[in-house]
Structure formats: C-alpha cells, structure tokens
C-alpha cells in the first residue's frame, strides 16, 4: 500500500483563505451566478420599464409596475408614475430574508457559497448602517397590503370591458399575478412571526388555538418562500411584458368571452 507525501499547495489547510478559495469540487459557483444573472436582469428590465412611462396600459389592463396608478396626466408629477410607487415593492423585496441571502451571496460574495473563502474586508453583518435597516422589513410587509389591494382592484378591472364582464388572456395574467404576489406576502417570515411565531406558549395565549393554526398555515407557505419569491418575481415581469406588447400592438390580446 503506497504511502506518499502529497503535494501541499491546493490541498493545504492554509489554502482555505481568500476570495474563492475552497476544496469543494462541485459546481458551487453555478447557483450564485444564476442568482446574479436573474436578479440583475430583473433589476435592469424593471428600471427601464419604470422610467419609460409608456405602454403600461391597454384596454382594462394595467401593468403591475404602475399599480396603483398615480397622476398619469403629469399634473404635479413630472416623471413616470411608476417611479412614485416603486419604493414599496422594491423595499419589501430588498429587505426580504430570502433576497438578503440571495444578494449577499451573489452580489456581495459574503460568502459566494458555503465553505468558499471571502476577500478580506471589514465585516459587520447587519449591525451597522445601512444594513441595520433590514430590521424594518415588517414595515414594508404592512405597506405591501396597500399594493395588494391595488393589484386585486386591477385584476378585477381586468375583467371589466366597458362596464361588461368579459375576459381576455390578459385578464387571467393579471389575476395570476395578484394571486402570486399575495402568496409571496403571506409566506413572509415577518408574517409568520406576527401571526404566532412570537408566542412561546400557544395553549396559554389569548386566541392561542387560532394563532397556532394561522402560524401553521403561514409556515407551510413559508417553507417555499424562495420558490414563491422567484415565481412571483418572474410573473410580475411577465405581466408587464404582456401588457407592454399588447399596448404596443406587437401582439394581440385574445378575447376569451
């Protein structure tokens, strides 16, 4: 049985220090790269569309980026109406526990993947400005209900054609979009905490039984928070693309009934 002294170098314990240093042999960089591409693509698209201020409405459809629609005639707001309402959903997603994980890994490489080295830098986690502001996530959660009400109103309006009930493909796109964003909101960690997670004893608390069953329901959604986050993100963009293409006349909305 051969016993040989291995080449130090790469397999040395010291070789675990520094950006990207790892002994991992799997494709650990694929996930952060995919997240980087996905989030960057969405970010660029959403920014361009939000500032465009055009092709966001057609028939009874309104793009979710522009909901609620404020001052579309530019009486007092000179820029695109989307810019006025962007902060809500943007803040909700940026402070979301899942997206934090995603961009800390993919954009800040802090760490890029598990047991993969980091560049030397001063690290203070979420204890200092600006990242300490992540703690206000629940306020964006409250705010998100304003947007949900608006999105559901748009979804219902998507079925109203000049005062008559009807539906095109777009009506269902808007409906699914509102449903997915609602699911995203209710799968939030702060929501899970507030409906029951903050209790130590369900059987001793007021309304403990109700809160336990609410907590269980939110928990079952919360377990899929990452999936719901991506699905709803993708679908918001898809809904906007759909409304834009129809508004530009590039595609025709199929009227179903």
């Amino acid at each position: 049985m051969a016993v040989s002294s291995g080449q130090a170098g790469l397999r040395n314990i010291e070789a675990r220090v520094g950006l990207g240093a790892t002994q991992r042999r799997d494709l650990w960089w694929v996930q952060p790269l995919a997240v980087f591409v996905g989030l960057a693509a969405f970010g660029i698209y959403a920014t361009l569309r939000a500032f465009q201020g055009n092709f966001y409405q057609w028939g009874p459809y309104l793009s979710p980026f522009y909901s609620p629609l404020i001052d579309p005639e530019h009486h007092w707001w000179p820029l695109s109406p989307a810019v006025l309402v962007l902060g809500g959903p943007l803040g909700f997603r940026t402070t979301c526990y899942y997206y934090r994980k995603a961009y800390y890994r993919a954009f800040f490489l802090d760490p890029a993947a598990c047991a993969v080295g980091e560049a030397r830098h001063k690290y203070s986690g979420e204890t200092k400005f600006p990242l300490i502001l992540q703690n206000i996530h629940r306020y964006f959660f409250y705010l998100s209900f304003v947007f949900l009400v608006s999105l559901w109103r748009d979804a219902v309006r998507g079925f109203m054609w000049n005062g008559h009930f009807g539906a095109g493909v777009g009506s269902f796109v808007l409906l699914i979009d509102a449903a997915l964003l609602t699911t995203y909101t209710f799968s939030c960690h702060s929501c899970r905490h507030m409906v029951g997670g903050n209790l130590d004893c369900f059987s001793c608390a007021k309304f403990g039984g109700t809160r336990l069953s609410l907590w269980k329901r939110v928990t079952s959604l919360n377990e899929h928070h990452m999936l719901i986050a991506w699905t709803s993100l993708f679908f918001v963009a898809f809904t906007d693309v759909y409304v834009m293409l129809v508004a530009m006349g590039k595609i025709q909305d199929l009227r179903l009934f």
Partner: protein, 246 residues
C-alpha cells in the same frame, strides 16, 4: 480490489500538510472507515476524533472534499474517486493534531447562556403543540459543523463577539419553551451578536440533523430582536396592554 487515494491533513498547531494514503474500498464504507483503515494499517499515529460511528455523538466532524461533514455519515461511494479525496480538519477552530481541532470555545459560549428557568408557579404540564418547535432544536448533536461553515467565524473570526448558529439554536429552544420565564433577547443582540449573521443559510445546508437553523431558529430570534429593539409599534402596544407579548 478497488482502491482510492485519501489526502489527509497531518500536522499540529505549528503547521502541517496533506499526506496521501491508498485505501482499499469495501461495500458500504464511510470516510471514517477509511480513516480507521489508515490508522490500523498505514499510520497508527493518525489523530481522529470519533465515538459512535452512527451519526449520534457529533465528534467525527471534518471537511471532506471541502465540505463540512460527519465522516461517519459520508459514504465513500458518494465521492468521486478519480482524484484523491481530501480530508481536512474544521477550519473555524485551531488544530490540535491531524484531524482533531480544539472546540472548547464552544463550551465557553454555551456556559454564558442563561439556563432554563421556569416561570414562578409553573404548572408542570406541557402540550405537544407547544413543545414541537423546541423539540426540533433538541435534535442537535453538537457536531459544530454549522459553527465551522458559518463565515462569521470561519472567514471573519468573530469568535469574541458572536455565538454562532449552534447556540442560536439552543437559545431559540429556550426562548420558545412554553414554561421558561427568562428573556435572552437582549443578550442575543448585545453579547451573542445575532446581528452579525447575514442569514446566508450555510449552517442549514450542513446540519446533519437537518435542523432548519436559519428559518426556524435564527430568523425567529431576529424577529424577536426587532420586537424589542427596532419596532416602535410593538413597543407602544406592549406599554398599553402591559403584556410582554409572549
């Protein structure tokens, strides 16, 4: 018989290097078996910490091909055999010898956590619905793989101001205990440094007991820290109702 090359760290606090050993493969073999083969046939002075060989004691932690693992639960046939399989000691703790690291820092942190203290006049009756959450945290076998992988310790060396995921799990179990009367939330923020965790979930990825460390322990604690320190509405509501919200 098929053989595989193992590159195992040899050395002590003053330094070391990987040494290659050729080991015959047997069906069902785990990495710890291969290390035992080396000890038994090739290098009797190889230092390996182990105890149960059943994934229960949490002693055999090491980094196999760069991933923090229990060596007794890592099957050889799950690893590619075309290149030497590297086995290195945990990175977050100082090496004593070969694969054995000094994990006493963990026990020091543990001692700082106020133990279970029943509420005054406790009725010693508990319901399953109330103990389900702490029960998950009781599964911990103190393998310290989560501590090893956590970049706050591993890369940033914040041992002096941070307790690490294993102890967030312990504190979460105490905080959610239906009969416990203490609050450790202030300590979580001020001494145990939960704000340093950036919820990147590596602890959850490596936990051999599959405890949902980040989602069920850390985020739950972070939300409780928010209740106490960053949420004026909760603060006002508690003043008005006189409740501590628990």
């Amino acid at each position: 018989m098929a053989e595989v090359v193992m590159a195992v760290h040899r050395g002590d606090a003053s330094g070391g290097k990987p040494v290659e050993y050729t080991v015959p493969l047997a069906p069902g073999m785990v990495v710890l078996d291969a290390l035992h083969y080396i000890q038994g046939h090739l290098s009797p002075d190889l230092a390996v910490r182990w105890n149960c060989k059943a994934g229960r004691c949490g002693s055999c932690s090491a980094e196999v091909n760069g991933k923090p693992r229990l060596t007794c639960k890592t099957r050889m046939d799950s690893l590619p055999s075309d290149k030497p399989i590297t086995v290195l000691p945990l990175k977050a703790f100082p090496v004593i010898k070969d694969l054995v690291t000094d994990v006493k820092w963990n026990y020091e942190v543990n001692r700082k956590i106020p133990a279970f203290s029943p509420r005054p006049g406790t009725d010693w009756k508990m319901y399953q619905e109330d103990v389900e959450r702490p029960q998950e945290f009781r599964k911990c076998i103190e393998c310290f793989l989560c501590q090893d992988v956590c970049h706050v310790l591993r890369d940033h060396g914040k041992h002096a101001e941070y307790a690490g995921p294993r102890f967030f799990v312990r504190v979460a179990g105490l905080e959610m205990h239906p009969l416990d009367g203490l609050s450790r939330i202030k300590g979580m923020r001020n001494q145990m440094g939960i704000g340093l965790c950036n919820i990147t979930k590596c602890c959850t990825e490596v936990c051999p007991e599959e405890i949902h460390i980040t989602d069920n322990a850390i985020i739950a604690l972070k939300e409780r820290v928010v209740d106490q320190f960053y949420d004026p509405l909760v603060w006002i509501a508690r003043k008005i109702t006189g409740s501590d919200g628990r």
